[in-house]
């Protein structure tokens, strides 16, 4: 049981790291930052996985994302100086696997469905889906950025002298 949880956490972190490195390459991240981005992403995603899993209290995805992104922000500020990159170079790719892409396009799908259906009850159902997905997506993104940005302010001196 305990082993299974640990394997799941490790697996979650590993795939989040691969996703972060891959997506960071789209944004032309310096190669020296790949490993750090991967490790920070693994830590962040694994934290969110643990917080939202039933074994550890099943926290809602929004506060769990905020806590995980705060951890990502702290790690990014601490490691940015070592790879001589601004803190956001480390935390952006680490946040990307946590961006709720599924919620984003379900919002658009629900919007199109609303336009397609005119019956009140069916329309109401898709409007509910639209509002639910849109709100969840927006608040996760807001929480992610606020959570990761707060450490930049808490450790202002470290953050803005990383490339020195």
């Amino acid at each position: 049981m305990c082993n299974d949880i640990l394997i799941n956490i490790f697996e979650d972190g590993l795939f989040a790291a691969i996703a972060a490195i891959g997506f960071s390459s789209i944004s032309n991240t310096p190669r020296r930052a790949y490993l750090t981005c991967g490790l920070i992403a693994a830590a962040g995603h694994a934290i969110r996985y643990v917080l939202t899993s039933p074994e550890f209290g099943e926290i809602h995805i929004i506060p769990a994302s905020v806590l995980a992104s705060f951890a990502v922000g702290v790690l990014a500020v601490l490691f940015a100086g070592r790879i001589k990159c601004p803190a956001e170079v480390c935390f952006f790719p680490a946040l990307l696997p946590m961006i709720p892409g599924m919620y984003a396009y379900r919002t658009i799908e629900a919007l199109l469905s609303c336009l397609y259906h005119t019956q009140e009850d069916v329309f109401g159902h898709y409007f509910y889906l639209l509002a639910y997905n849109c709100m969840t997506c927006s608040f996760i993104i807001l929480g992610l950025v606020v959570g990761a940005t707060v450490p930049v302010f808490l450790f202002k001196k470290l953050s803005f002298t990383a490339t020195r």
């Binding site: 891959g22 997506f23 390459s25 990159c85 396009y105 658009i108 606020v146 490339t163």
Partner: protein
């Protein structure tokens, strides 16, 4: 009297050069996807190092820089269009390093300009490397959403195809919105194969994940960051840009599903 006029002309010419450099620097930093706070801080660091007073206004597509010596009424203003160089953390990091280098070593305008031009010529990450890594990343995404190995393979292949199409269209200078629409349509149509031929146990996750590599995550994150720093215009503009691209990729996905007769509502 003549010497004072001469000195004034020299000062004004130096100020113009400094303003032009700072505007170029800030616009490139803005173009490569830096947040407004970083653009302001870096440009101010450079201005302090050059010994001039400085103010900056960052607009969604332009950057205005104003510099002066003692009298703000005699300020020199330069503005530049933000280059469409695409998001590059490599450029962002190098430009940030440059500001510290100039400030710590008291480099003059000529040396700073030389280094800046060298940084401007920085090559982007190799296209094949990016293509392969993006494929792997999206396949990992599929795993994170609960997809099985077959779904991961489908996503890997459809991402390779869609991302390559995106690269080709962007190299041909096609409109970015059309590019996103076509790439997502292509990826969705390919990954719908899993659904149609009943391959694997999670074909719907493969279909849903196949277009996620197109989600413009960096502009979304930057927009909220700008909003927090009260750069509402830039923040809202970045958010709208990202939202338009998300609509394009969703439309491509829906078009792919409709074409192949999959029910999505």
């Amino acid at each position: 009297m003549t010497s004072r006029i001469c000195n004034k002309a020299v000062d004004e010419s130096a100020l113009r050069g400094t303003a032009a450099f700072l505007a170029e620097y800030a616009s490139l930093l803005s173009g490569c996807g830096a947040t407004c706070i970083r653009i302001e801080k870096n440009a101010r660091r450079l201005a302090d190092s050059f010994g001039v007073e400085f103010d900056i206004s960052i607009m969604p597509t332009h950057v205005y820089v104003s510099v002066w010596l003692d009298n703000p009424a005699e300020a020199v203003v330069a503005f530049r269009k933000t280059p469409a160089c695409g998001i590059s953390f490599n450029l962002n990091a190098k430009l940030s390093c440059l500001s510290w280098e100039v400030s710590d070593n008291n480099l003059g305008l000529t040396a700073a300009t030389e280094r800046f031009e060298r940084i401007r010529r920085t090559k982007q990450t190799g296209k094949w490397e990016t293509l392969f890594l993006t494929g792997l990343a999206n396949a990992s995404f599929c795993r994170l959403f609960g997809g099985d190995v077959i779904a991961m393979l489908i996503v890997f292949i459809s991402t390779l195809a869609g991302y390559r199409l995106k690269q080709i269209m962007l190299e041909d200078k096609r409109d970015i919105r059309l590019t996103f629409l076509c790439a997502s349509f292509f990826s969705a149509a390919l990954s719908a194969g899993g659904h149609i031929f009943n391959i694997g146990s999670t074909p719907e996750i493969a279909l849903g994940t196949s277009v996620l590599y197109l989600i413009p995550g960096v502009p979304y994150i930057n927009s909220v960051s700008d909003l927090i720093y009260r750069h509402y215009l830039c923040g809202f503009s970045r958010f709208l840009d990202a939202a338009v691209l998300t609509v394009c990729l969703s439309t491509g996905l829906c078009a792919g599903m409709l074409l192949l007769g999959l029910k999505w509502f």
